[in-house]
Point group: C2
Chain length 347, copies 2
DNA sequence: GTTAGCAGTCCCAAGCGGAGAGTGCTAACG
DNA sequence: CGTTAGCACTCTCCGCTTGGGACTGCTAAC
């Protein structure tokens, strides 16, 4: 990481050091950083005039820019990218943080339902940004068990439990009046038949089934299909308070963040870009697919077990964000969630 | 509603009309309202000087106040309260809105899991404020069914289904290695035994049970107790974007709203004040229990079926909020949710 | 009881100006 | 030739002042 990479060969070692300082200082202070500030605040060893010359070179190369004439320099998207890829060093959460997170997770470990929420909360706090976590999604949901519960003569509750222990509840409007005893009879006859099947396989059973059984099987198919589809996947976010209050999102900009999170359009935009199973991926500024994300940095990773169950998690922040902290947090969280999935799903 | 109430007898009919206009105008514009504005904008029939005299009387009586000398008048908390109780009229959502909401709900009706989220989203939109919805909570959770699924030799998944169709998943750390066959045997033997029992009754079964059965029963007890306790109840909110962006929450104030929602401390504060089963309840400004809520108005209602299952829902907004719209929305939503619960739980 | 007129108060937004920070350029230095 | 000191210039930010607008309370007349 500290050796000069081919694509960084345009920059001298000193320029790289200065770029690093500019990014760090600007992330910390939020203001444009000038040559004098740098010499005063860091043991840089050369005078402000030299820094100025180097800064001019960095600006020429497109790594920094000045928002206003005679103002300080601010990293460009390219500058941030260079920092993340070549200057930042290997992001690894401090072992103290790791222990703390793991400890917190132990306490809710037995409450499966709240894992996603909890992961979002923890990630938001450690990364200091808005976090996004999707529930683990099985590649192909397979039925383990279901139950039918009579609510009204024509209304029943269908509870699906998949092989991967995902539970789903649905309401059924029955075509004819049915009592609990009848429903139980149907359920009993179908439950062994459908064990271990996926949506399509359940759907294949409808031919030749009685009308009511047929209806139940159709609904199960719909339910299982719903668990497969990406759009249905529940997505939680947390930590808006971290990103609000920051100077770049003072007025209207705050609205755009909320819009982004609310619609879930964020996932739709970022998801296609994600290559599965790899390490943490970072999208900075104009690297992002949507215009709405132009002023943001996105750090994402997938978690889960290859080919069986996966989810995504990550953080969203201003382009001026603490990438080191975000990346290390996301990486660790992804590992932790993967471990938990391993416990849950691998035989 | 239009006749003079005893506690309103201090005010003349004209003062009441003026107070009504002040509230409405201030809610709409957000600015302090002066005598001249009123005569210009509304067909009030008297001159601004008369309005001024009446305003002075209203101020004397404590219904309005002027934030700055020589500025316009703003309703006090008492003024808002008088407006809500005596001037506003019966809040009933327009039938168009009612139909729209009911229609939207039809589309997700079969997805029980997302009811709370969806209710929060709809309520936030129709009321134009932040909405808060708690999941329906059963008075005493009774077990309908449970399943044990082996994950690892010493790790099992416990799925609880209550009589009221609430599903809960828990992870169990087994004291000894156990295979699926063993777990199934234990489950089979206990499932009929525990059907219809509440937490305490399940707990009574532990005496004389085998070590593993005993452990499972204890965990079921914990799970059921968890469903009973108020703190565990999941609470969703939606619509922060509505309340942000409004002038009164420009800077730091926005943070306080988020803090309020995040910690869930809101519910803890408001809940004790709520009398169950009654109509919509309104808390304005200093009527609120917590200091943090001093600048807010809260409109809350309970929903559910008496003695069986209840939840709460409501909206939170600045004291300067459109009470009519909020109250009518909350009232309608509570009725709608109650209807749905009726379908689900009443035999 | 109501209204017109008036003097006085206060908020708000725009305009102004100085302090501070930073830049580019030039000339001197090792 | 790279580095540094100095200088003139630019631009933002913050506080101050100032004029316009809005509203009030009071008084006197209707």
């Amino acid at each position: 990481m500290e050796t000069v990479k081919p694509d960084g060969s345009q920059l001298t070692e000193r320029q790289r050091a200065i770029l690093k300082l500019i990014v760090q200082e600007h992330v910390a202070s939020g203001r444009a950083v000038g040559s004098k500030t740098l010499t005063e605040r860091y043991p840089v060893g050369v005078s402000s005039a030299t820094i100025r010359n180097e800064m001019a070179a960095l600006e020429e190369a497109g790594y920094v820019q000045q928002p206003h004439t005679s103002g300080g320099r601010v990293p460009t998207d390219t500058g941030y990218r260079y920092y993340v890829h070549h200057l930042m060093g290997a992001p690894e959460l401090s072992s103290g943080d790791q222990i703390m997170i793991r400890h917190q997770f132990r306490q809710v470990e037995f409450q499966l339902d709240s894992w996603v929420d909890f992961a979002a909360a923890v990630l938001a706090e450690t990364a200091g940004n808005v976090s996004i976590v999707s529930a683990p999604r099985t590649m192909i949901a397979r039925l383990r068990h279901f139950e039918l519960i009579s609510l009204q003569p024509r209304l029943a509750l269908l509870i699906l439990v998949t092989q991967e222990s995902v539970v789903r509840q649905m309401m059924l409007h029955l075509p004819v009046d049915m009592e609990q005893a009848e429903l139980s009879r149907i359920a009993d006859s179908l439950v062994t038949l459908t064990r271990g099947l996926d949506a399509d396989e359940v759907n294949d059973l409808v031919v030749g089934a009685s009308p009511v059984s047929r209806y139940v099987l159709e609904q199960i198919t719909i339910g299982l299909r719903g668990l497969n589809s990406v759009e249905r996947t529940q997505i939680r976010h947390s930590g808006i308070e971290n990103i609000l209050g920051q100077p770049e999102f003072a007025g209207d900009e705050a609205q755009s963040v909320l819009d982004l999170l609310r619609g879930g359009s964020l996932l739709g935009a970022v998801l296609p870009q994600l290559s599965v199973g790899n390490d943490v991926q970072v999208f900075i500024g104009d690297e992002n697919p949507t215009d709405a994300l132009r002023r943001f940095g996105v750090v994402m990773a997938t978690y889960g077990i290859d080919g069986e169950v996966t989810g995504i998690l990550g953080v969203l922040g201003p382009t001026r964000m603490a990438y080191w902290r975000s990346i290390s947090s996301v990486r660790y969280m992804a590992r932790l969630m993967s471990d938990l999935m391993e416990d849950l799903y691998s035989s």
